[in-house]
Symmetry: C2
Subunit: 126 residues, 2 copies
Amino acid sequence: MKKQTMHEFMNITKALADATRVRTLLSLRDGELCVCQITELFGLAPSTVSKHLSILFQAGLVESRKEGRWIYYQLPGKTAPPVIREALDWVIRVNATAPDAIEDSERLSLILKENPADLCKRQCQK
Amino acid sequence: MKKQTMHEFMNITKALADATRVRTLLSLRDGELCVCQITELFGLAPSTVSKHLSILFQAGLVESRKEGRWIYYQLPGKTAPPVIREALDWVIRVNATAPDAIEDSERLSLILKENPADLCKRQCQK
DNA sequence: CTCTCATATCGTTATTTGGCGAAATGAAGA
DNA sequence: TCTTCATTTCGCCAAATAACGATATGAGAG
């Protein structure tokens, strides 16, 4: 078990203190998403979503993977430290039945039916 | 299990997104403290500490009890909803060995040796 | 009742943070 | 090579927040 400073811990709690970032984590529950899919889901500017993802990444709450031109974000695997796994389990379990989360989930399932390439083009032209 | 909105959940994460408030929760680990003891511990203005406690209270992360002129704050008991207990367990377990928390703990043990009445007088005259 | 005193509320100020659009980056395609 | 395009970084603005001191509150003490 890694020794944890309070400063690192505060990076996690600050990352969790924004609704868009919490909704992002919940949306990654069922698998990875690329930036433009998340952008479409929340209706925010790509730069804004990128900033949120960077904050989640620095806190250790998401990992990223590059494939072609896209960058996919996902929840961390089993290598993640316990503090991270516990936080994610808590966030996901508590909000599993929250109306906002269910709405996001429904919109996400529509987005996943679209061709990612079309989605990205639409997002990046805004 | 109570139905949980994301808004209520964000009250909790926002309350946890400040180092002073996290340190306050850790300091209450071993029992209740009155406002002036917490004020002394952190070297902040009484009004600032009061505000922090109010934010923790509204999130459900602390309870309060009035005795004479003092108001004692403590961690919630078994009646607290699971989301709160899980959050507190996580916060306390992860930071148990954090240097900042240990420092606070040492300073707190000195404060607990003092007469509370003297402490309050000193704080409130600042 | 009046005074004291612990705490809470209010008003202000400085800092932080979330949002956007424009420009930079950097890898894949032509 | 030159272009395209997904993402990131930068600069700016508006809103939120933490800090303080001053004032308000309200429950004991005298």
